[in-house]
Amino acid sequence: MTSAPSEGAAARAAGAGGATGAHTAAYESRTALTGTAPREAREAILDVRDLVKHYPLTQGVVIKRQVGAVKAVDGVSFELRRGETLGIVGESGCGKSTVAKLVTSLEAPTSGSIRFKGEDVTRLSGRALKAVRRNIQMVFQDPYTSLNPRMTVGDIVGEPFDIHPEVAPKGERRRAVRELLDVVGLDPEYVNRYPHQFSGGQRQRIGIARGLALRPEIIVADEPVSALDVSVQAQVVNLMERLQDEFDLSYIFIAHDLSVVRHISDRVGVMYLGKLVETGTESEIYEHPTHPYTQALLSAVPVPDPGAEAGRARIVLEGDVPSPANPPSGCRFRTRCWKADERCAREEPPLRIPDGAGGGAGSGGEGADGPGRGTAGNAARHPSACHYAEEKARIVPD
């Protein structure tokens, strides 16, 4: 286990010279790792604590005074372990993309810390920030605006090398760019083409190649497939999974498509109105959700089987998401929650493993679900920000 970082570093160092060699080296070190250590036991390379981002609301034309703040992200904590994929889901406007911008230092947080390998990124500036940025790269949502239309593919993918010349020396750049294109499944002969000559999926591959150029350890993907056709989505997601194995990458994968997130993620965080309401492994969240919001979200996932679709109970939430400028007191979900009572308005539920979770809470009527539910108690033991967190039967039909 202790050898993990040094191996990764060696692969990275070698990667600066001969990429193909490094790929295999990285791949080997990766397979060696998975052989010895399960994913859960790996060290966290990114530790986000109490991240807050408020956008001030001002009034007045010349003399501005602050009249409030849009609480886009309001106390989000999570950690990302080496080689894992953390999926973040939530509806539009819940702060997912702001989290991505904060993690990639595109925006400065109002408070909170983002520790990359123990170093607080939010306090860095200048050269030190540049060095950390190299390791946290991003893949963007819209492949049609994320590539500069006036640059060739070679220039786009190779641009990071101009800013970080230590990654690829001048003479190596052309070759490095061609290798990157090859890695993402594009013909290296396309280096001199322009983005408008490519389809959406190909453009997203170019974007991924650019994200890989600096050999980062973390890639933040902000809805990388939501602008693509479904068939192309699958290709891109599979490509990202392959690259993760090849380069030992950690992903923060942001999406609002629950099934895509489930497909790629090891752990999932559900966001609502600037807060994480539930976190857990992919199976904990998808099969044993305890937060009412997660349950409602999952009940809305289309099921490709008409029989099962007709038979399941759908939770329809009422009302709209409250304004993040003026969130409800206590639990933020209480305005739309069927379990809400005065306690929810009074005290804010912390994100922690619920007390009653496990065999006790989930019993009663749900006991009738059969012997398979016996393991459900343990699976429900994951952090959930609800006073009345408990499993609900048959959200997604088995």
């Binding site: 190909q202 490509l239 489930r262």
Partner: protein
Amino acid sequence: MTSPSQAAIAGAETPGPDGAGLNSEPVDGDKAATDQLGRSPGQLMWMRFKRDRTGVISAFVVLIMFAIAALAPVISWLYGKDPWTRYGQIRPGLLNDNAYPVKPNGGMDSEFWFGLEPGLGRDVLTQLVYGMRTSLSLAVVITILSVVLAIVIGVAGGYLGGKPDYFLGRLTDLMMSFPNQLFFVAFTPVIGALLVSPQDEMPTWLRACVLIFVMWLLGWMTLARLLRGQVLTLREREFIEAAKVAGTPPWRIIRKELLPNLVTPILVQSTYMLPNFVTGVAGLSFLGVGMQGSTPDWGRMFATGAEVYQSDITYMIFPGVAMVIFIVAFNLLGDSVRDAFDPKSGR
């Protein structure tokens, strides 16, 4: 741990085996063979422009006009006349007692192709080509200066945002609120008086500089506003964020990411600006605040022409037709350039 439902969901997202779509994508295979190089947006624009017949013809006309203006001394030398000699006064028989050309049509003949100027008796052809040279060079200098200032102010305002944007925006508004023709007429003599004592004759180069200065001062705002708007939209594009994530310094973002994307509006707008400045300079000369004295000038030919048109309409025609052709051709060129850059915007 894979439940049937999970498999179903995953299956819906993954139509084929991993390898199928991954490595060799069928990327317009037939086209790939023919143009492996890829065409830049600039090359595409050039291809579209070449297909636009109006644009090509106007471009030729404009180029010929510029060539004539630039080659004015050569033309004068080949033709054997110059714009300063008062042929009509030196040689008897060219002008009558009222100082109008003796021959019909403004004195056109095989020697003076475009005739003679009433009064001073100078050669019209050389006056016109030298006058075009003066006007066009002034207009080109003003256009370049205005474009540079507009880029600086527009990009700075749009990219920095906040307070700088606010103040630059108000400055632009303030400058736009000046009525420019009035401002030119009022301020050109004032600035001249500030620099040169009233007794002295103002040197030609200084007069040119004053003209350039006042026109420049009020010439940059439209483009600056346009560029600010463009930068505001470009700034939100993800490729700017991508550059920031890589740690690109702001100056490099402006140079490498923003400016190449601003070439289109800059080029289109400057093809509209230049003819405007040509007419502007001519207008000032017409009103008597432009170029003075013996310097041949397009605008002043109109002024003379306006004085004599009742007796000698021919003198008005040559500078007039030349200017109309130039302005129309340049504006049509501007339209074609815009269409070539942005084929989606219909007329």
